[in-house]
Structures are given as structure tokens and as C-alpha cells.
Amino acid sequence: MTDLVQALPPRLLGSEPPPAPWTARLRARPWGGWALGTFVVAYLIWSLAPVLIAFLFSFNAGHSRSVWQGFSTEWWTGPGSVFNNPLYFDAILHSFLLAGIAVVVSVPLGVSLAVFLGRWRGVATRPASLLATLPLVVPELVLALALFFLVTKLLHFVSVGTPGQVVGQVTYILPLVIVVTRGRLASIPSGFEEAALDLGASPVGAFRLVLVPLLAPAILASAIVAFAVSIDDFVITQYMSSSSSTQSVPMVIYNSTRGSASPALNASAMVMAVTTIVICGLGYLVYRAVNRRESIVFPQASIEPAPIGPALREGMV
């Protein structure tokens, strides 16, 4: 009788088994426990601490960016501060100008290219898709060199400076937009466009009224990516710049770290970081809202049952 009671699962006896000790839980999931946790915390400290320290030094009372001399807000509000020093403030404005233009140009262009590459059925579809994404793997420096040559020697209607920087950044960002958009496009059956055509929409109408709304999450995501990449870009922006008036924040930071820059530099870097995080964060919130609102369940392409006759025949033999 005792054997029988012990053989039954505890649930049936009405009593839960005692909770396992923490050592047992750890043995069951070693990576879910302290090891992984420690690793994550260590990584976060390693990657964020320098940023926080740089942020802190923008409040230094002295002129040094490495020796703490007391707390002050002079590099944020004073006469030599980030907002009063034209070098830093112009660079911030220029960075945002470039990022804005890059988003406005590369997203519509990239989405159209992605739709064309994704929906076009022709002999050159595959090579064209490959070529369109090639800039992703070409080193940025090589791309910058090539573009610089192109703009200075061949395309004289594009001057170095802001136009050259926009052309360069857009060239660099387009493949990212294409990749992000095509990922989403692949999950949208072409039947939606056919349905739109069937109901009387022109091809342009089908694109505008059906495909663009369905691609909205990808369009938002690629806009965020384009903005972040543009703000962050150094190599191409540097190559295509003309004078100090077309310096972006990364360029100013790079050029002045070796010199005797004031903590206003740290402040300008922080302005960029915080604004970028806020803008990308807002973009992400909109992206999530769009995604949740739709909760699209795409239909399956084919619902005809698979042929079972041959399989049955084989089973019989």
C-alpha cells in the first residue's frame, strides 16, 4: 500500500512537492543563473561606464576633460559652452540637417527599390538584388574614396560639401533600407496587390493604398536606422566635406580630441547622444504602436491539400 502511494504522482495525492533548493535550480539552468547575469552586468558596465564618465566631465568646473575640478554647468550654459561656441553648435545643426535629408531621400528611394527588386520577375532579378545590397559589404572607406573620386572628377554638378555628403550618405544607407524593407515585403503575399488591381486600383494606387500601409513598420524601422547611421557616420561625411561649415559632430570630436578641447566637446557629444536616443526611442514607440494596431495575420498562400494519392500508392507497395 505504501509502495502504491509513493508510486503515484504527488499531484494526485493532493500535496505539492517541496520547492527545489536554489542549488538544484542552478544546476538545472546554469546559464540562466548567476553566470549569465554576471556576464550581462559586466558587459553593461564595460560599455556604458565610459559614456557616463564622459557625460560627467561635461560638468567639470575646470578646462580639463580628464581631471575632475568640481561641479559646474559652465560648458552647458556659459559663454564657451556647447550652445554658444559656433564650432560645436554649427556641427550639431549640420549633423541633424544631414540626417534629416538622408532619411527623407533614402527611405522613399530605398522602399521603391525594394518593392521593385522584390516584385519584379525577370532574368536580372537575382543579380540586381545582389548588386543593390553590395555596398553593405564594401568597406566604407573604399566606398568613400570611390565616391570622392566620382564627385570631384566626373559629376561636377554635385559639389563637395553638403550635396556631396548627402549623396554619399544616401548611397551608404540605401542598402540598409532595402534589406529592412525586403524582409517585410517577403512576408506580404502579392495577392494583396492583385486584389487592389482587381478592385480597380492602378499599379501606383495599389502601391500607395495597399503596399505602403502594409510596409509601414518596415518604413518606420528603416527611417530610424537611416537616421542613426547618418548621425553616426564619419568616414563618408569627412571625405565629402568641403570646409569647417560642413563639419558634423563626429568630425569635430575627432578633430579636436587630439587638441586642447574643452568639456564643451563632451557636452556636444552628449547633446547628440541624448537627441539620437530620444528620436530613435520615439520612432520605436510609433513602430510598436503601428505593429500592435495591425496585428496582421497574413493568409497562407495555398490551401489546396497536398497530393496524397502517390504517397498512398507508395505505402501500399
Binding site: 482587381d198 480597380g200 494606387g205 495591425e294 493568409p299
Partner: protein
Amino acid sequence: MVGGQVEIVSLTKSFDDVTAVDGIDLHIPSGEFFSIVGPSGCGKTTTLRMIAGFEEPDAGRIVLDGVDMQHTPPYKRNVNTVFQAYMIFPHLNVYDNIAFGLRRRRTSKAEVKRLVGAILELVQLGQLAERKPSQLSGGQQQRVALARALVLNPAVLLLDEPLGALDAKLRKQLQIELKALQQQVGITFVYVTHDQEEALTMSDRIAVMNNGRVEQVATPRDVYDEPATRFVADFLGVSNLIRAQALGAQAGACRLQVGDFELSAQHGIRDLRGPVTCLVRPERVRLEPYESGGENRIPAIVERVVFLGHSVQVIVRLAVGQPVVAMVQNTGDRFPYAQGTTVQAHLPADALRVLGSDDAQAGPAPDVLTADARLPPTPPDDQSSPELAPEPTIGDGRND
């Protein structure tokens, strides 16, 4: 109802090196419920897509109400489609989905409201206008897809397996509704399905397609009762296909030799000689006591009795080795023959149809898909006369 007449002339379409549609001709008069049935890959959907304008024919013409559609893009054809997976726009609610086509025509706001309201009533979705497609059941989505196309009052409505994604009970209900709706609106329906039963239930006429060709176009009754080819007989309904030796016509019937037994067949091609295939539907096969005698009877042994509720499916093996399926209506009496009983299988002369000479019917044997797929192979005792070695060719048509 004016318009809605479809004329298809030697339509051909290939994909790479596969011929999907191989020179078909169809004439669909105005207001007809016309079905195209056939197994997967027979070209039925490609035909429909060419009528809609999504595929361009390699050769042939599609004429809609006297106008050649060759250079008309899909958005300018007075034809609308109900897609297999509905393709209701997921970012629009039910109302906006149905209004989509009307707005493309620049219909006034008040008129859109009136027409959408009317069609919502017609398909019984009045209270769901604000819903998003993801909040609808499969049957409701199907109705939205139908309403979205019907609201434009097309000359022809194309339906591509519209009930394919629904469960069996809902299918049956919607089949009846769809047929009633078609009669109410009077629009020409071109309905593509691989489900032969669905086609038989709803259609005015059926085209049976196989390998890109049309095998037969006729009313449901005619394709079932008078199939033109062995493929049609096998695809529509359960068929017993019996190989026999035709001995020529006699008194308006065809004399057939099956093993040691003689049968007479009153239908089909009666003046043939040589190996032929003939058809008898399971519901026409009668099972009688072994002692009974008479014309068109072959002794048989009951191999399997399957109770289906409304009827009893009996598989008997004829003395010549051929299995035959018989459907016996459930009339309340107990089925008198147990497994292993010997009986007389009565294949009435007016139920036997000669489908044609076996040489003309060359091709792979139809798939075997019956309640009993484990029938032992035919004993090889009649190899001397291969035309009398019938293989178990019983298909129910849904084996695609």
C-alpha cells in the same frame, strides 16, 4: 441581366517549359454558374487568372461581352475576383475593404455608404462594419471578400477555391448560400475548385480539366451520369471502372465479355470491339442472393462492409478478380450480407457505360483511394488475357 458573357478561344499559357493551359475553348453565357474542376496543376487557376488579367496568355483570346481583353489591364476589366485566401486588406476595416473598389471609381460618399450598407445586408455582415479582418472568423472573411467584389456589380465574378479554407460543415452551408446569392444577383460566376462535390452542388455547368485541357463541359448531371472520358468518370464521384472485351453492338446495347461472364451495356459507345473500359457507379450496383439468376449478374464475395450512416459501402470482389464498390441506401433494415458471403453482383445494363476503347484511354491508371486501400492485389491467374486483368481502379476524385 445584361453582359457577363465570356468567350475563351484556344487559350494557351506556359510557365517555363510546363504547359499550364493547353489551347482550351470555353463559352460561358451570361448569368451562368460555371465551374472549372480538376486536380492540382490542371490549369484551372491559371485559366481564372488569365480571365482576371493577372497572367498574360501565350496564345488565344479572352472575349468579354464581345470585347477582346488582350490589352486590358486587370484594373480596367469589368471582372472581379474572390481570392483563394480572400486577400482582405488587413489594414482596413470591413467597411473600408468593401468601399475600396467604389472609391477607386470616385463614387460619391453618400453613394458609397448606401451601396456598402446594402451589400453588408446581403451577405449578413451588417453589424461588423467596423471590425478589422483579424477579428473575423474564416466564414466572415469569406463574406467580406465576396461583398468587396460584388459591390462593384461586375459582369463576371471569378471565384478561386473560395471555400477551400473553411471546415466541412461551413462549406456545405456556404455552398447553398453562394448558389442562392448567384441566382439573386444574376451575375456570371466562374468558380474554380478541386472539390467535385462542390461543383456538382452549385453549378449550372461544369468544365472538367486535366493536364491543361478541357475533358468535358456539361451540366452536373451529365458529367456525372454521362462522363465523356475515363478521367471525368474517375474524377467526379466514386467510379467502378471495369475492363472488358467489347463484342460489338446487339439490340441497341454493347455486348461485353468480362472473364467468363457476359454483360450488356446500354450507354456510352456501343459499337466498339476489343478492350474497353466501362463504368458503373456504386449506387447503381445491386447485391442479390447468390441463388438469384438473370442477365448482367456476376458472382462475387463480400470483402468489406463499411457503415457510413446514410448508406452502407460494400466492397465485393467479382469472380473475375475485380473489386467493385456498391453503395446500399440505409433504409432501416439490417444489411443482410456479412463479410465472406457469396452474392450476385447485379450490374444493370442501363447503369453500365462504355467509356471507349482502352487504346484511346492510354495513360496512367487513376489513383486508388477507397475506404479499403489494403485490398490484396489481383491474383495473377489471368495473365494470358491482360485485358481481362482489371486493376482496382476505384477513385473518388478527391485524390489530388
